[in-house]
Symmetry: C2
Subunit: 568 residues, 2 copies
């Protein structure tokens, strides 16, 4: 049984899920449900610890990849605010491109099954052998909680990877491998045998971000690799380890399957000497996948040509609060989502719009001021209990985020009203953790400069508008102007809901309506929720549909007179 | 029966052809096989003549499209070298964009069936009511022969249009319109109803070229329209009429189906005051389809962002002549293809590489010099008989092409050897036709500057190389450096053929091997032959596969708690 056959049952089930968009995953959602969980988690922690060096004696994360010219590493754990003391091979970029290019030919020429089987095996090895190691690596670089790192950066990211393989297979299978073509020209009968080859674009560069490294990276890498390309991974210098572990698994499984491991390599850099632009403009770059800042994402989109660019950056995620059957339930859900990983997710809401007159409820209008206060109370409650705060807020990835909070707090106090003051909370497990409860400001649309565009981190704005219509117009205007991935609406008015669905669809944000209860509002399910529409500045790519994969390969045909015209 | 149901049998048959890539068309290949051919052809000629004005009294090709600011027209028939005396509405661009944008909402929100049915009806109306009118319009703008204008710019272009609809439908149907999603979060069960909306990118601008207006334009327009976008057509100022007729049909059928005709409008310009860059950089441009010069095509690719760009330009199409079982048959086929529409096709071969030692045949080596001479004789034979020449060479679209021939002739005589002198041939039907037999030069690779890149028109170069290997390397090097759509190989050596298939696939040209006989070498069949690979400078788009359509729409979802969680 080859690798494709081994993994075919999962692939087939994933195909069905992608077509029907229902809920499915081959993986357990919670760490405790992982097979032999206790032992696996302990082994994962040990594997993570083994990567760490000590002060002055950094541990080398050895790679056998070509072109090594030094060692680099500057990761600091948000949970200890101390260096991880890990260094990675710094590579000569031309050597990476040359070796990647040399690896492509054979990889591109084997069957679709051979590539997909090998890549499914990669995901399986990550799941079976490295999941908790990556969980800890994500915690101590991105600052995610243990559970989020397991789910969002672990099994859900694996799911998005399988999803990318499903669509890559779909797009490739849509091309017949050969055909016999017969036609008469005048009295002559012409019979041609045609061969259609799938030709990869070339070398893909995959940029991964500091706060959520694997979730976009794995599907991007798999989409490129499945279609025959090679991938150079360029991790954010703050969050290298999860990608270094990933790259090593890809290389090992590729080599074991008889392929050139240089199909996947790692290009590390430092904040002071970034290599991003050199990678994008390298003459051998054929594809760029980018997750990260709006600013660099825009530069990538504008400068990637002739390479294709697939970007996911960020934007102003908005909430419109028009009316609610159960306002407390809505505010609790909003509060949880505002706190989730300290709003360091590209799907975290930021700008909360409501009518100045108040929000309609069965108990009557609740004033905008009161809504703001009750929402702030709900957020404060989550941050006040350290154990709960640790699970939900987790840690702050970058010190810059704390500086931004202080700056916005000062501006907000001048321009509007501080609903909630940010403050560190004591993490029960990591006393030195970089933490902050959220900052919340109440403003009117006159203070738009304060909230226009993404403010990365635990900050949100409760914004009073002229009316519900104005709230919707302001919110979707943000999305059109600054980009936006997600949006949230509470309304009991079906015609307002229908209007909002249209307005957000045009603006290009994925809309969640009237959701309350246990599910995080911004939870995006693989195989079911599309991530990023591609319609605004928050990114031009969507995880995952045909457009994410179908441009990564081309079709080159050859045709010749059939040698046995009579038979087929 | 609605329009979709009416046209479903053809669409279903076309789907099968696209999947299997065999030969099929719902249309008769030859004008004589058109239903009630004689009468239809006469009516088509009358319709064309009715568009023409007289000197000083140009006929107005009236349009009811918005924003008219004047009349423009400067078409000259290559067959009479006299003005067609037709003027078209010159439009205020902002008015076109505004009206296009206003038309999109409703068009995007109707069913896939409603859009596809309407667009199939457009193709059917073109076929039934305007085919011979467009045939004459193409002849007297592009300079094609009657038969080519009927087939290549008529029924084959309609076929490519249907093909684009098939892939657009495939990509859209891959998105489930809705789903029910159920999962537990802790002890809570969450049930969501999700809606997935297809959202068009917006306004597409479709540039059409002077020599082959409809073949790329119709599929591009249909790909954009099927996925919910609006289209502004920007024809080359030398070849407006075929697109003006097309646009008027689109508008009429759209209006008759109850849609806003401003989904399709025409933006004309003049050579002295071009509007191309303004269209590409217009803030409302979301998609650009471009067919035309390499130079402007490159500019489009580099500057279209944030719009998507789909380009087909041109390149150095190459021939490698290594060995042949029947050299005369090969040379006859090459000669016909070098003459076809005076090599004014993006698929015409230009650079013919062969080993200096000669070409292997069953009769022994034929020297490079002799091969060049015999090929020139075969070309000369085609040009020497006016009736045959008229059918094959047809007319020269632009006076600039004649100037280029003279320039290259002079340079070639200095640098190498003139195998064939270009000269006008007398057209039997149009004594004032702009015609020329081909220029052929024999050179060595030392004169590369002469043939490096596309030389548009009836000019070809027989180039002596060090060896067959060198010939293949030179040829595929041209493709990589200057782009190339097609390539042609004659070889009896299977291992050389296999090597050439790989080399051309990597370079990105579609390869035809050892083809002789009645079929023109560069004939590209809809539903079967992919046109342009997207792998080199000859264009980034391919007619037609999923990548040509899948980026033209995005997916915006909304989700909300299910109102009846128990049922589905």
């Amino acid at each position: 049984m080859n690798a494709y056959q081994k993994h075919l049952p999962v692939l087939e089930r994933a195909r069905q899920a992608c077509a029907e968009r229902h809920c499915w995953s081959p993986y357990p959602e919670m760490p405790g449900k992982y097979p032999d969980a206790e032992q696996a988690q302990a082994a994962g922690l040990r594997a993570f610890e083994a990567h760490r060096g000590t002060e002055g004696r950094p541990e080398r994360f050895a790679f056998d990849q070509p072109g090594q010219i030094g060692w680099l590493g500057q990761e600091v754990s948000p949970y200890t605010q101390r260096s991880l003391n890990i260094v990675y091979p710094q590579a000569d970029l031309d050597a990476l491109f040359d070796s990647a290019e040399a690896a492509i030919d054979r990889w591109a020429q084997v069957s679709i099954e051979a590539r997909l089987g090998t890549l499914m095996e990669v995901l399986d090895v990550i799941y079976r052998e490295h999941l908790f190691e990556i969980t800890h690596a994500v915690m101590h670089t991105a600052g995610q909680s243990y559970n989020m790192a397991y789910a969002g950066s672990g099994v859900n990211a694996l799911d998005r990877g399988i999803e990318a393989l499903v669509y890559a297979e779909h797009a490739m299978r849509a091309v017949a491998p050969q055909a016999r073509w017969e036609r008469s020209f005048g009295s002559a009968q012409i019979t041609l045998d045609k061969t259609y080859r799938l030709v990869p674009r070339g070398v893909a560069v995959c940029f991964t971000c500091a706060s959520f490294p694997t979730w976009n990276a794995w599907p991007s890498m798999l989409a490129s690799l499945a279609t025959g390309n090679a991938v150079i991974v360029k991790p954010h210098p703050a969050t290298v380890l999860p990608m270094a572990i990933s790259v090593r698994v890809f290389r090992r499984v590729l080599a074991e399957a008889g392929f050139d491991p240089n199909l996947v390599t790692l290009a590390v850099d430092s904040v002071s000497d970034p290599i991003g632009k050199r990678l994008v403009k390298h003459p051998k770059t054929a594809i760029v996948d980018f997750t990260g800042s709006v600013q660099f994402g825009q530069w990538v989109e504008e400068n990637a040509h002739p390479a294709l660019a697939y970007t996911e950056t960020a934007g102003s995620n908005t909430v419109v609060l028009e009316s609610a059957d159960d306002l407390d339930a809505a505010l609790r859900s909003l509060a949880t989502t505002l706190c989730m990983f300290s709003a360091q997710m590209c799907t975290s809401p930021q700008n909360i719009y409501l009518p100045r007159q108040g929000v309609r409820t069965p108990q009557g209008l609740v004033s905008a001021r009161e809504v703001g206060e009750r929402l702030a109370q709900a957020v404060a409650a989550l941050g006040s209990e350290p154990k709960k705060a640790a699970m939900i807020l987790a840690a702050i990835q970058s010190p810059q985020t704390l500086a931004l909070l202080q700056e916005l707090r000062a501006q907000g106090a001048q321009a509007g009203r501080v609903l909630l003051e940010p403050a560190p909370y004591p993490h029960p497990q990591f006393p030195d953790a970089r933490t902050s409860t959220p900052l919340m400001l109440q403003l009117s649309t006159a203070q738009r400069a304060l909230y226009a565009g993404e403010r990365f981190g635990p900050v949100s704005f409760v914004i009073e508008c002229d009316s519900a219509q104005d709230a919707l117009a302001q919110a979707t205007g943000d999305v059109r102007e600054f980009g936006g991935l997600t949006a949230f609406l509470y309304s009991t008015d079906e015609s307002f809901i229908a209007q909002a669905e249209q307005a957000y669809a045009r603006a290009g944000a994925q809309l969640t309506i009237n959701l309350t209860g246990a599910m995080p509002l911004n939870f995006a399910a693989a195989y079911s929720d599309y991530h990023v529409t591609g319609l605004n500045r928050a990114g031009n790519a969507s995880l995952t549909h045909l457009a994410f994969v179908s441009g990564r390969f081309c079709i080159a045909q050859s045709r010749r007179p059939a040698r046995q015209p009579a038979s087929i």
